[in-house]
Each structure stands twice: as structure tokens, then as C-alpha cells.
Amino acid sequence: MKEELETANRPDNTAFTQQRLPAWQPMLSAGIVIPGFVLIGLAFIGIGVALFIASQNITVLEKDYTGVEITSDCYKCSNPSDKNCTCKLDFSLSNLFEGPVFFYYGLSNYFQSQRSYGVSKDDYQLSGDLDYFKTPISACSPYQYDANQNPIVPCGSLANSMFNDTFKLYQIVNGTKKLVPFDGKGIAWWTDYNIKYRNPSVTPLKNAFNGTVKPPFWSKPAYELDTSDPSNNGFVNQDFLVWMRRAALPDFRKLYRRITEGDYASGLPAGNYSLEIGYNYPVLSFGGRKKVVFSNVSWMGGKNQFLGIAYLVVGSLCVVMSTVMLIVYAKFKFPEDD
């Protein structure tokens, strides 16, 4: 009886309750840390060299066309009251710009990552829900309804501020302008194009927009964004999708077109080029800048000197640290077991 009572009160003898769970107790021993550092260092140096070489092989051509300087051809367009202004940007290539070449537009000091700007859109509307065509969500305000209480579709600041400069690239061959064909397909994310943004299933698309107005800054309604390709309209317009995927940083660039067709599939040959710009988008009012970027890519994406250098530096530091640790260890080491 007494023993029974005793065993009832006695704590369980399990590895858990007695804190005797089998465990692995790692120590930062020199045998692991120093070779580990050397290994990491060497691996990083290797990767760094590869990245650096890959990045060196990438060509980037960047041109500002905001028109701040008087010498610039776009200076005349920098006045926001001037509508439908066109200007041109001339440049020459001394050797072949290897393809495929990607053509970007870039904006600086433009805070697409601003919170209230970013949420100023209606995901229901953009996924083709007709109920939200009539009553957009309030997050879109002040671009929810126009002055006549007509719903704006697509609503919100993000859509309203869509970039609307247009570009045409010509190669000057023997004094005549030869149009470089642009490819605007598949420049947006696959999920955006196929899942996130959907047009309402109404044909023709125009009818779905009955009773709505276009965003005030837009020159054309959503269903007429691309007159050349009827399937590239509404919310699945590639340029629209690119714009709606907002940038994280105030200095960003977005893909405009690819140069993959015709004579230019293998790249832009050496020669003189002229870029004709339909200058519509005002940035000077908030101190922004606009630029165009031509670039090709490697296995690791676009030009990225930083990554290669960072890998090289970190790798070297690891090796240096391991040497320092080796010296320290040799001086103050725990005695080896004899």
C-alpha cells in the first residue's frame, strides 16, 4: 500500500521529464569552423567570379529623355500643357548590341511603393467582376467615381497613373528610317495575365464598360488600349499589367518591349538609331526622371556588377577570417588530446 502510494507520487522516469533526452551538442570547434570558412570563402569566390564575368558580358544602354537640359530634343515637350508632343532621341552603336535586346522605360523618384497608392485598386473589378464595375471599392478613392458619379473603370490611382509614353525605334540606314519591330507579347507575369487579371466575359468587351468612365488621365478607355490586337485590351493589356505590378523601389524600370523579330533577332547591328518618343507622361512636377534602357541578359539576368563583387568580397573576407582564426587558434588553442 505504501509503495503504491509512493509510486503514484514519484515523478515519471522518462527521458523527457528528467531532461535526459538524447541530444547533439555542437561546439564551435576549430576542426569545423575554419575549414567551413575556407569552403564558404572559396565557393563564394568561385560564384563571384562567374557572376562578375557574366555581368561583364552584358551590354546596357541607358538614355535619359526627361528633357531637363535645353540641348535635349525633348526639352520642348517638358511643359505639361503641351499635349501630343513628340521628340526624338538619337544614338549610335559602334558594334553589335547582342540580342535578344530588351527595351525598358525607367522612372526615378517615383514612389510606386507608397502604401495608399498601392492599395488604390479594386481586385474584384480587375478580376472581371461586373458588380464592381458599378460600385468600385472605396480604396480607389479619389478615383472611384468621376464628378458625375459615374464609376471609373479601372478605378484607383495605380491604374489612373499608367505610363503612357510611346516609343518607336528606327535604324538610320543610308539616310532612311527603318523601323525596328517591337514585340510586346508576354512582357507581363504569367499569373497576372492568366489568373489575377481577367476581363469580364462579355463580348464585345466594350459593352462591359457601359455606364463607366475611363480614368481621368487616360486618353483611351481600357477596351481600346491596343487597337492593333483586340485580345490585348481591357485588364489583360500587357502594358497595363506591367504597370499594375508595382515597383518596390522609387527608382525602377519596367519592360516595354522585346526586340526579337526580323533583322534584329540577333541584336541591334552597329549603326545610327533614332528613338521617336510620344511624350505624354509628366514627371517633372514631382522631380522625377524618365529614361529608356536597352539591355540584354545572361543566365543570371540583367547587368548586376554588385552581386559578383559582393560575392567576391564576402568570399575573400571568409578566407581572411579563417586565416585570422587559424592564427588565433594556433596561439590559444585548447590542447589536443594526447
Binding site: 508595382r246 523601389l249 527608382d251 543570371m300 588530446d337
Partner: protein, 766 residues
């Protein structure tokens, strides 16, 4: 875990240790002062009759442990079967009818206030007001003078099988002034039992002696109140751990001093024992001044320095004994500072004749002046005030009821469990709590500060860097369980090592593991991590593009990259912090990383988006981001940049400025390595069978337990003192000591002739 600890279970009393509060565990690792009660705390409070002297003839105990040689039941059917007494001579003299012996035991059986209860014939139960009375009556009972029952006016005694009833005329109860108890009855003259308590120090036993008078001195009895098991060892270890132990007792000064000696709190080789027993303010002050003068005499050349400096550098061992009257004066406002400063340089302080209120006042005094964590331990109702005043109250569930237990934060049944509570559980709790807190600050700073940096790039618009679901789940799912597992299971050194090296306890007292500096380091590390986590993706992704030419600098890609890097970095960090990887830790760490990817892919999946298009904006982000080589290169780089400095720093710290715990861990590791071949030579299949990564020392160490500690108390004490001394000096020299110690412990079977402590003597000499 404290409740579950088998080593704090007392089989005799059938009670396990109990933590009655959950908020104080980490303070157990920081205790600097212990205030202890004596009776029932240090001692068992179980009195046993051990010696007597009748008519000048002394009957000694023959110390034969284990079996009772005398068979009382043969001549006395009413004998208590549990009673052990080892002197045949006394029994013989009783049987022979020696008058003095008979008178002596008759007196013992009569002169008391014990109540008896007889459930059935021959089975007597005694209920004594005080345990020593009970012991005397039980002794008399076994020698044939059986106290059977009492009524208000009579006492019935069976004298050698013959029932005799005495009529009581008066009982003069025992009190401290008369120091005797008298029973006046018909049949005999007035008996006066004088209880002048004198104290004998028989090895580790504390003995009350009772002199018995019957007009003339009939004889003297000696009753011993055994010290609890392991008390001197516990006190020795705790004082090695730099915990100061004060005994606050209601007993007389001599009793207290004797207890002090038998507990090894006071030792013969102490330089000076100050006894303060003045009854007036002036004399107390005088005595305090005098002791101060003696204390600081060797340091008088430094007297120009402020007291705080030379207080710590006092050499020699001093002890202070103060009694209740003096204490009352010493606690007065103008003298308490002096009292505290004197008392704190003494290795042992004993306060005797103190009232419960004074106990609390002393604790309060130390709390006020020393800002140290105090622990009070006691078992009786008179300790309740002290237990409540101290930061941590420990109740001993012993003989004197459970008032103390009810007032306490922790309770167990034996004083010796205190060392386990403090050195093992307290230390671990403190360590765990510190690591837990540090990591918690770290990971939240790493998480949150990213937003601060992002603020510069989003126009300070409170845009979050991460997906809203990531923010919700980060602290709940992705990073909570590993740190919880660490906070529960982490141990830097195994339990037997922390008992072996009490110096390991010191970081807790000095609060070395979590102070402003450590906090600052954690925060800095967190901020550093957040800088890396934000600016690295910023630098890499801002102009990075996918293989298809699409830029990677969009918000959602950035969010996914940063979040992934964050989870990986903090997981690697917890992996570095965890010193004790159990299967649960593995499960939690890997599980957290796994759950992060699983949940993120689910959240960004098309199915969820098609159900709630307005809730899951990140559709497809994870899927398209995590296939980019650039993103992974960023994450790897961020992880390495965050972790490598920490790793290097810790490694260098380990080599340049190792903590004692690191050293102990290291020796553990080496020992484990050396043990393996030894184990095989000895044919230890059990050791060989265990995995290399497991700690093969477990089975051994577990069985060793206290026994080794107790038997080699001297060895342990010297070596750990030596360790502590040498740790502060150049590393290589104390490494030598460790090595020697290691050898002496690793190969005991090979050197049977050599005693362990001879080895550590050489250690001290080096």
C-alpha cells in the same frame, strides 16, 4: 521540470518537489543570499535517543548502522519496533533491576506532556508537542517503562510489565526561563526534569542533551537531531557557487554555532568568528566596530580607498554570529549599514534567537542594501514572514506542517535538494530565459527594422515590406517553436557538471547573460541583420531581371525575397544558439522552415486567389520568385553575411576569452572522445552501441550522482576553486588543470592506487 525531477523526490516522505510559481524560475539562477532556518530545514527535526548517563555511568551508542542488535520485543512486548539502540549494557542494567536506571526511566515515562493513543493492544502511538519529548518517552518505553495513557489527573505507566497509575498533582510545563519541567505526583517525590540544553558535536550530528534531575541528578540523556542528508555538502557547494548562506534560527547561540560547525559553515580554520551578543545599543555598536576593525586591519594601508573596493578584497575567512537582542539594535537605522557591510564580508552569518519578524527584517535589509536576489528557506510557521519577504521563498515540507509550503514559491522535502534547485534548475532556467529573450529581441528587430529602412523608399507611407500573411504568421508559426524548444530544452552543460563546478553559477549572480550590454548586442545584431536583409535585395534586385527580361524589382518579388531570407537567417541563428539539439529541436527548426515554404506557396497559389481575389494579392509571387537564380543568390549571400560575423565572433571569443561553461563543455567533449576507446577496451558494448553524436557519458554520469560528490567532496572543492582561480589567468595554465582533472576522472580504473584528491593537490600547486 522541477516538479518532475526524480532526484528531488524524497522516498521517505513521499513528496516530490513542487514549483508553486512559474514566474521566478530564472531568478533561481541569480540567487546571491540564502536565508535558512535551522530546525527542520538543516536538521531533520526527527529526534532520536542516542546517549544517556545514569548515575555517572555513561551508556554510549555503538555506531552500528543498519541493523538493530537489541531485540526489545523479546522482553517488552510494547516496544516500538522502529527504535534502535545499541548498548547492551543499559538493557542489562534495567533487567538486573538497577534502582537508578529504573528511577531514570520512570521519570522519563512520567515527566512529559505527550499524549498517547492506543488503537489496539500493544500498538501505541505517541503524539508529542515537541519531537525531543517524544524521543525520550519512546526510549523509556523500550526499556520497559511504557507510558500507556493519561487522564487529566492520572498517568498510567506499565513498569516492566506491571501497570502503575500515578496521580498527577501538578505539571509545571517546560519553558525557556525555568529550563525545566516538573511533574508532581503521588507515589514519588517531586520530579524536576531540568532541560539545560548543552550541545555535543558528534561528527555531523547535532545533539541536545537533557539532564535529568530527581532531587539529585539521576542521569543525563542525549537526544540527537540529525542533520538532513547531504546538508554540509550542499552548503559547501552553494558557498563555492558564491552564494552566501545566513542561518536565521530561533535557537540559542550555542546551538546555532554548533549547527554551524556541523554544517561546515563554520570551520576550525576560520580566521575569526565574531560573536555579537551585546544587550545595549552601545555594546552592539562597540562589537560591530571591533569586528570591522579586525576585518579591515590587514588592509589598513588601503584605507584611503572607498570601502566598496577593499570590501571585496578581504582575505581570510570570517564568520559572524549575532543574537536576537543585538540584532534588534543592529537593525536600527543608524547601524544597519555598518551591520550589512560587516556581515557581507563574512563567509557565514548566523543569527540566533531571532523572532519571525526579525527574520523578515534581515531579508529586507539585504534586499535593500545589496540589490541581490535573495532566497529564504524554511519549514515552520515562523519562517513564513521570511519566505514572503525574500524574492524566492522555498518551503520544506517537513515535520512542522505546511504553512511554510503554502507561503513559498517552491517546495520540497529535503534541504539538500536546494543545490539541485539552484545549481541545476536555476542555472538552466536562467540560461534558457536569457537566450530566449536575446533571441526574441534579435528576431523581432531583424523583422521590424526592415520596415524602417523600407520607409525611405516608400515615402514613409507605412507600406509593409512583407505580405500581410507573413507578418501575421512570422511570430506565431515561422519562428516561435524553435526558440520555444530552445527555451525549454537548452542546457549548456549537463546537470552533473553544473554540480561539479559550482562556479558555473556565478554568471547568473552577476547577471552576465542578460544585462544592458547583452541586450544592446542583441539589438545591434538584429539591426545589422535587418540592414543586410533590406539593402542586399535592394542592391541586387533593383536592376536585376529575370531570364526573360522582366525586372525583379517589383514589390512582390522583393517581399518574397526578403521574407525568405529573413526566415532562413533567423533559423540558422537559432540553430547556432541552440546548444542542446534534441529531436524536438530538430523537428521545430526544420519544421518552421518547411512550414514557411509550404504556407507561402499555398498562400500564393491560384486556388486561394480564385476563392478570395481581394485577399491574396500575392498570387503567383512565390512560384515565380523562387525559381529565379538571382533570388537564391541573394538569399544565400544575405544568410552568409548575417551569420558569418556571428560565427567568427563566437569562435574567437571561445578561443580568446572562454567562459567556464565553454571549458566544461569542451572537456566533456574530449572526455567523451577518450572514453570511447576506453569503453571498448573494457568491453563496454553499451558505450559502443551508442551513436557517436550522442553523449555517451549519460549512463555513467547518471549513476554516479551524488555519491561521488559526497565522497570526494574535498577533491571537488579544491579543483573547482582552482579552476575558478585559473580561469581568470592565462588560458593555457588552467587548461592544464583541466587536463589533469580530466585524466584523473577519465582513467580511474587504470590508477586504482591513486586517490582523487592527491591529484587535485598537484592541480593547485600548478
Amino acid at each position: 521540470f522541477i516538479n518532475w525531477d526524480r532526484k528531488m523526490f524524497c522516498p521517505q516522505c513521499n513528496t516530490a518537489a513542487e514549483a508553486r510559481t512559474t514566474t521566478l524560475n530564472e531568478e533561481l539562477g541569480q540567487v546571491e543570499y540564502i536565508f535558512s532556518d535551522k530546525t527542520g530545514t538543516l536538521t531533520q527535526n526527527i529526534m532520536s535517543f542516542s546517549k544517556c548517563s545514569i548515575n555517572g555511568h555513561a551508556y554510549d551508542i555503538l555506531v552500528v548502522l543498519g541493523n538493530c542488535e537489541l531485540d526489545f520485543s523479546s522482553f517488552n512486548p510494547l516496544a516500538d519496533p522502529d527504535f534502535c539502540y545499541y548498548d547492551n549494557g543499559l538493557l542489562k542494567s534495567v533487567k538486573l533491576g538497577d534502582l537508578h536506571s529504573h528511577e531514570f526511566f520512570r521519570l522519563l515515562s512520567l515527566c512529559h506532556t505527550v499524549m498517547s493513543e492506543e488503537k489496539k493492544e500493544g500498538e501505541l502511538m505517541y503524539k508529542a508537542q515537541s519531537p525531543d519529548e517524544g524521543a525520550l518517552v519512546t526510549a523509556a518505553r523500550n526499556f520497559g517503562f511504557v507510558f500507556r495513557s493519561r487522564t487529566p489527573g492520572t498517568v498510567t505507566v506499565t513498569e516492566l510489565g506491571r501497570p502503575v497509575t500515578y496521580t498527577l498533582l501538578a505539571i509545571l510545563d517546560f519553558n525557556n526561563i525555568r529550563k525545566r519541567m516538573s511533574v508532581i505526583g503521588i507515589h514519588m517525590h517531586a520530579y524536576a526534569l531540568t532541560q539545560a540544553r548543552t550541545h555535543l558535536d558528534i561528527q555531523q550530528t547535532h545533539t541536545h542533551a537533557h539532564q535529568t534531575h530527581l532531587d539529585v541528578l539521576l542521569g543525563a540523556t542525549a537526544i540527537e537531531d540529525k542533520l538532513q542528508e547531504g546538508v554540509p555538502e550542499t552548503i559547501a557547494i552553494l558557498s563555492l557557487a558564491n552564494i552566501k548562506i545566513w542561518v536565521l534560527t530561533g535557537d540559542k547561540q550555542e546551538t546555532a554555532v554548533n549547527i554551524g560547525y556541523s554544517c561546515k559553515m563554520l570551520t576550525g580554520d576560520m580566521t575569526e568568528v565574531f560573536i555579537i551578543s551585546g544587550n545595549t545599543v552601545l555594546s552592539v555598536r562597540e562589537e560591530l566596530r571591533y569586528s570591522n576593525y579586525l576585518l579591515f586591519l590587514p588592509l589598513s594601508i588601503y584605507l584611503s580607498l572607498p570601502p566598496s573596493i577593499y570590501q571585496d578584497s578581504i582575505s581570510g575567512e570570517f564568520a559572524l554570529v549575532i543574537n536576537g537582542h543585538s540584532l534588534a539594535h543592529a537593525l536600527e537605522a543608524d547601524m544597519e549599514g555598518e551591520f550589512v557591510s560587516t556581515a557581507c564580508v563574512c563567509r557565514a552569518v548566523i543569527c540566533c534567537r531571532v523572532t519571525p519578524l526579525q527574520k523578515a527584517l534581515v531579508v529586507e535589509l539585504i534586499k535593500k542594501h545589496k540589490k541581490a536576489v535573495t532566497l529564504a528557506i524554511g519549514d515552520g510557521a515562523n519562517d513564513v514572514s521570511m519566505i514572503k519577504t525574500a524574492h524566492i521563498g522555498v518551503g520544506i515540507s517537513g515535520q512542522e506542517g505546511i504553512q511554510a509550503v503554502l507561503a513559498s514559491d517552491y517546495s520540497f522535502s529535503q534541504f539538500r535538494f536546494l543545490q539541485r534547485l539552484l545549481l541545476v534548475h536555476g542555472r538552466w532556467s536562467y540560461l534558457r530565459m536569457c537566450r530566449f529573450l536575446c533571441y526574441f529581441f534579435y528576431k523581432n528587430f531583424a523583422f521590424t527594422m526592415v520596415h524602417f529602412w523600407f520607409g525611405f523608399f516608400c515615402g514613409f507611407s507605412a507600406q509593409t515590406v512583407y505580405d500581410q500573411y507573413f507578418i501575421t504568421l512570422y511570430n506565431i508559426v515561422y519562428t516561435s517553436l524553435p526558440v520555444l524548444a530552445m527555451g525549454i530544452f537548452d542546457q549548456d552543460v549537463p546537470e552533473q557538471r553544473s554540480l561539479e563546478y559550482p562556479k558555473l553559477y556565478e554568471p547568473g549572480q552577476l547577471n552576465l547573460l542578460f544585462n544592458k550590454r547583452e541586450f544592446f548586442i542583441c539589438i545591434t545584431q538584429g539591426i545589422y541583420t535587418s540592414v543586410v536583409l533590406f539593402f542586399l535585395p535592394y542592391a541586387i534586385l533593383s536592376h536585376g531581371t529575370q531570364g526573360t527580361g522582366e525586372p525583379l524589382a517589383d514589390y512582390q518579388t522583393f517581399a518574397v525575397t526578403t521574407a525568405t531570407a529573413l526566415v532562413i537567417v533567423v533559423s540558422v541563428q537559432i540553430a547556432l544558439d541552440t546548444g542542446y539539439w534534441t529531436a524536438i529541436n530538430h523537428f521545430f527548426v526544420w519544421g518552421s522552415v518547411g512550414s514557411f515554404f509550404t504556407i507561402m506557396l499555398a498562400m500564393h497559389s491560384q486556388i486561394l486567389f480564385s476563392i478570395f481575389p481581394n485577399q491574396f494579392h500575392f498570387v503567383g509571387s512565390a512560384q515565380s520568385t523562387l525559381v529565379q537564380p538571382l533570388v537564391w543568390l541573394t538569399i544565400v549571400l544575405a544568410t552568409v553575411i548575417c551569420i558569418v560575423p556571428v560565427l567568427a565572433f563566437r569562435f574567437l571569443k571561445l578561443d580568446l576569452k572562454p567562459q567556464l561553461s565553454d571549458t566544461v563543455r569542451y572537456t566533456q567533449l574530449v572526455r567523451q572522445k577518450t572514453r570511447k576507446p576506453v569503453g571498448r577496451c573494457m568491453g563496454g558494448g553499451r558505450l559502443g552501441a551508442r551513436g557517436g553524436s550522442r553523449r555517451s557519458g549519460y549512463a555513467f554520469a547518471h549513476q554516479e550522482g551524488f555519491g561521488e560528490l559526497i565522497t570526494s567532496g574535498k577533491n571537488m572543492r579544491l579543483s573547482s576553486l582552482a579552476l575558478a582561480n585559473f580561469a581568470s589567468r592565462h588560458s593555457s595554465s588552467w587548461i592544464d588543470t583541466l587536463r589533469k582533472k580530466k585524466h584523473s576522472n577519465t582513467h580511474p580504473p587504470q590508477r586504482p592506487g591513486e586517490k582523487p584528491h592527491s591529484n587535485s593537490t598537484t592541480v593547485v600547486q600548478t
